[in-house]
Structure formats: C-alpha cells, structure tokens
Symmetry: C2
Subunit: 172 residues, 2 copies
C-alpha cells in the first residue's frame, strides 16, 4: 500500500467519526441545550410582551401548533395571526417550567409545565389555566433551534357542561 | 505501513460506518415505521377490548402519560391502574389516525388525531371527545418500540363554566 492510500483511509475514518459524532447521534450537546433554553426564554419574553411576531420567531416556518380546545394552526404565519388577535383583546402571561429537554443532532424535544393567565383588556374576569406542554424542536443549518410541533393540555378538571335546570325551577 | 495496520484502518472505517448508519442517524427505517404502526394498532385493540394490562404493554416501564384535564401518570403501573379503573366503569372506544410518524435510530414520535367515546356501564350519556395526540417513542434493545411520553388535547371547544343564575330567577 502506498502511503497516500493509508492517509486517505485515516482521513475517511476521522471524517466519518466527526460526521457521526456531530450529526444525529450526538445527544444533549451542552450548546444545543443552552440554545433551547434561550429559545424558551425568548418565547416567554415575546409572549408576555404581547409581541406576536416575536412569538412567531420561536417557531419553524412550517410549525404546527395544537392549542387545547382550538383548531390546529399550520405555519408560522397562522401562529403569528392567532397570537396577534389574542394580544389585541387580552393581556396574556405565561410561565413555562421545563422538566425534560433533550436534543439529538438536529432534532429534540422540550417537555414541562405551564401556568397561563389571560385578562380581557375590555375588563372582566381573568381566565387561568395550567398544565403540560410538549414541543418538538428542530435545529436549522445556521445552528438556531425552533419549535416545529407544539401541543399542550390542562391539568385542571374539565368544566362540567351547564346542567339542565331542575324541573321544579322551570317556568317559575 | 504494515498490511495489518491498513487492514485495521479499513475495518475501523467500515465498523464506524455501520455503527453510524444503524444507530441514531438512520431515519425512518421502514422496519421501524412498520413496528410503530403495529404498536399503535395493538394499543387500540387493547384499549377497545378494555384490556388495561394490554394498554400498559404499549408503554415503557417509566412512561409518562399526560391525559387532558387529569394529573400526569408516571410509569406503566400507574397507567395500567388508571385504565383498569376506567374500564371497570366505562365502555371506552378510541380511534387513532396518524398524521406523522418519524423514527431516528432508537427514538421517534407519532402524531395524529383521535376520536374517543366513553359510555358509562351503569347507564347514562356517552362522553365524546376528539383531538390530537403526540407520543414520543423509544426502541428497546430487543428492537421493540414503546411509548415513552404521551400527551393529547381536544379540538372541541372548552365547555363554558356554569353561568350564575340570572338575578330575576333567584329564589323564585
């Protein structure tokens, strides 16, 4: 074997190891976890400032947000429009508390709990909710992380539907 | 270089390539996708038969199920116990319709919609729900897939809390 062949094999092995290590198989890289933490904080800051465009920046262009008791929103534009409408009518505040954040290469997820309050700007009672969220994350080619899939639900009991009026009360 | 060194390098490169390909970076392997489809069907069959232990077999031992408007269930035993209690009181039927199933090495997710009906065995009105689910999946060392994290929510509007009785009706 000529030295150049050996050198090529060494280079190939090192390149392969680097590609494998830096790619899909590298789990919980501290830089990635830090970037996801930054993303979560940026989302909260935008949300709690009533900044719909800023909220949209947390998501991929083709993200799907499945909000509880509402139709799914497909795409960043729909997510921004929905938040814009909400922020026009409501002062909304959210706190996300992560319980599990994992990345593997260019994908990952973040899971935790939320507390949410929404107060009508026109006055009236605040609406409170608390529960859990799970988001699927994607790392872009520029190294930034975004939310690609978003679902949440509530730990509060489902309100009972209005009971029919008891017979003795009817018409009185 | 001695031939044995070259041979070692070739073996190292091939081993690395195989480990990389068969490991975390292999996305959407058809066998893995098929196994997840089988898992989903097995879950529905167990659920719709009222088989709590069978439902539990769909989950990892340390799975977390976050059912809408209920506390989280941690671990297969808690998931089985909760389903056992439900199936004792209710005839429950679920249909899952996947919209997106992805695997990468030993992890993955399945996302889609559900329709759910629960009829009290003691009589009374059925409870219907429909919405979306997102589960995170894990592949065991034996090649089998299980649900590790489970969250769902509803596309139906949240029932309004019971309205206070109008003033003119009070005490009449």
């Amino acid at each position: 074997m000529r030295p150049i062949v050996v050198r090529s094999l060494v280079v190939a092995a090192i390149t392969l190891a680097a590609a494998c290590g830096a790619g899909a198989s590298e789990a919980n890289n501290p830089q990635d976890i830090a970037a996801v933490n930054t993303l979560r904080t940026a989302f909260m800051t935008a949300f709690n400032s009533g900044d719909a465009a800023g909220v949209g920046q947390a998501y991929t262009a083709d993200a799907i947000e499945a909000g509880n008791h509402t139709p799914s929103l497909s795409g960043r534009d729909a997510i921004v429009a929905s938040h814009k409408q909400m922020f026009e009518q409501m002062t909304a505040k959210i706190v996300l508390t992560p319980e599990e954040t994992k990345t593997m290469g260019s994908s990952g997820y973040d899971r935790g709990t939320f507390k949410f309050t929404m107060t009508p700007k026109a006055g009236g009672a605040a609406i409170n909710d608390e529960g859990r969220y799970l988001v699927l994350l994607e790392k872009g080619t520029d190294g930034s992380w975004h939310v690609a899939r978003d679902i949440d639900n509530s730990t509060l009991p489902l309100p009972a539907p209005p009971a029919p009026m008891p017979e003795k009360k009817k018409g009185k």
